[in-house]
């Protein structure tokens, strides 16, 4: 079994009109056994920047801790939060540092730049970065998630519509994945607030 499908995850991030949304499933399992359903895979870095990490959960957790450490130091020195685009490139560099013994995690970065424009990027396990204007996904069933996002995404969605779209893409995507699901959490980031909601989903 692949190291990337040892735990299981589904993460979707989308850009709307001056807002971004990012969501993940809540399953924590070891191969085919489900252990808990309260483990999100999206983490807050600061009010306008969220990070989703799929892959081996131990590496996702460690990477998150290391990045929080680096962002905290950055905040002390720069006296401001890191821009999402900067964070994305920092993460890409951090992953490539481990080119021949990588973190088995694939990140998605979603945030709002200081001027309010949405920022989305995704990387593979060794830090090859790609930005997108529409959506970014990662997880154990990428085909299902891509299919849903390609058909449902439209430009300039308002926050409520964006939430609905991310919710439907995530849920329909992970309902065909045995290793992801058991609930979902979605964060919608706008310039003045973040609304976080959980979804009641199938628990199988």
């Amino acid at each position: 079994m692949s190291i990337f499908s040892y735990n299981g995850a589904a993460i979707v991030a989308m850009a709307g009109k001056e807002c971004v949304a990012i969501g993940s499933d809540l399953r924590f399992g070891v191969q085919m056994q489900t252990i808990t359903c309260d483990t999100p895979k999206v983490f807050k870095i600061h009010d306008k920047l969220y990070l989703g990490l799929s892959g081996l959960l131990t590496d996702a957790q460690t990477l998150h801790q290391k990045l929080m450490f680096r962002h905290n130091l950055y905040k002390l020195r720069e006296e401001r939060d890191m821009k999402p685009s900067t964070f994305g490139h920092m993460l890409s560099n951090a992953l490539y540092e481990r080119r021949f013994g990588p973190y088995f995690a694939a990140p998605v970065v979603a945030g709002l730049e200081p001027d309010g424009t949405p920022f989305l990027c995704g990387m593979d396990t060794i830090g090859a970065i790609e930005t997108a204007k529409d959506f970014m996904i990662t997880g154990t069933s990428p085909e299902s998630l891509y299919g849903m996002c390609e058909s449902m995404w439209r430009p300039d969605m308002e926050p409520d519509e964006l939430f609905e779209t991310v919710a439907q893409c995530l849920m329909s995507g992970f309902d065909r994945d045995a290793l992801a699901g058991w609930g979902a959490v979605i964060h919608v980031i706008t310039k003045d607030k973040v609304i976080s909601r959980t979804l009641k989903t199938r628990m199988d």
């Binding site: 299981g8 191969q31 983490f43 045995a178 628990m203």
Partner: protein, 242 residues
């Protein structure tokens, strides 16, 4: 990343990673199965039928390799049909169970099928036989099999009672399946349940949204173990950067 994903799809065989549950009660047998068929982690079929009829009143609950169990069920259905044509009677459940067992035992190097043979005949009423991999035959009062069964042995042991009513037995089967479907990633989707008594065959289909749920309303996730480390300092009034 893509290479390993492609490999797992291409190499994994379709498997009814499954839960099958059956029990006898006062008057007959109740049995059921989940509906998930997966290739690796892709759910190829979310509403499959894992219960195959072997004759009018004898059924096979299939778990293990999907193609192996389908071939076994086709073969045994054929033999039983021939046997009942020659004898002029409905086939017996014991004969069906033995035929399944012989196929499992004589081809043990090749077949991976863990099955339950359940039925009703006029000689002995409702009966249940477990036929696991390699060809054991065991007559049982209740039986479970498949990958999801690991999670429900405790439930089945503690909740099973002799001589249950039909409603109690159906509830036992349904709850056992639902509990396994919650914990086992390779079981899920739908529940198909049959009850056999002297009046005949009764079939119940429970779609995914009507399967019993046990999780209740969960609190908002804080972020698991990592969130607990990074968030608790804030809650206690300590300094949190980020």
């Amino acid at each position: 990343m893509d290479v390993s994903r492609g490999a797992s799809h291409a190499e994994a065989a379709p498997s009814t990673g499954t839960t099958i549950v059956a029990c006898t009660y006062k008057g007959g047998v109740v049995f059921g199965a989940d509906g998930r068929v997966s290739i690796g982690n892709y759910i190829m079929n979310r509403a499959s039928n894992k219960i195959a009829p072997l004759s009018d009143y004898i059924f096979l609950c299939r778990s293990g390799s999907a193609p192996d169990t389908q071939i076994i069920s086709d073969n045994v259905r054929h033999y039983l049909h021939q046997a009942s044509a020659e004898s002029g009677e409905e086939p017996s459940v014991l004969m069906a169970a033995n035929l399944v067992r012989l196929l499992n035992y004589n081809n043990k190097d090749h077949l991976v099928g863990a099955m339950l043979v359940v039925g009703w005949d006029k000689h002995a009423g409702g009966q249940l036989y477990g036929v696991p991999i390699s060809g054991t035959l065991a007559k049982e009062k209740w039986a479970i099999d498949g990958s999801g069964s690991s999670y429900i042995w405790g439930y089945c042991d503690s909740e099973f009672k002799e001589d249950m009513t039909r409603a109690e037995a159906e509830n036992w089967v349904k709850e056992a399946l639902a509990l396994a479907m919650t914990r086992d990633a390779s079981s899920g989707g739908t529940i198909r349940m049959y009850t056999l008594d002297d009046a005949g065959v009764h079939y119940t289909y429970i779609p995914g949204d009507q399967v019993p749920q046990f999780m209740g309303d969960l609190p908002f996730p804080t972020g698991g173990p990592v969130g607990a480390v990074l968030g608790s300092a804030g809650r206690e009034g300590g300094m949190v950067i980020g």
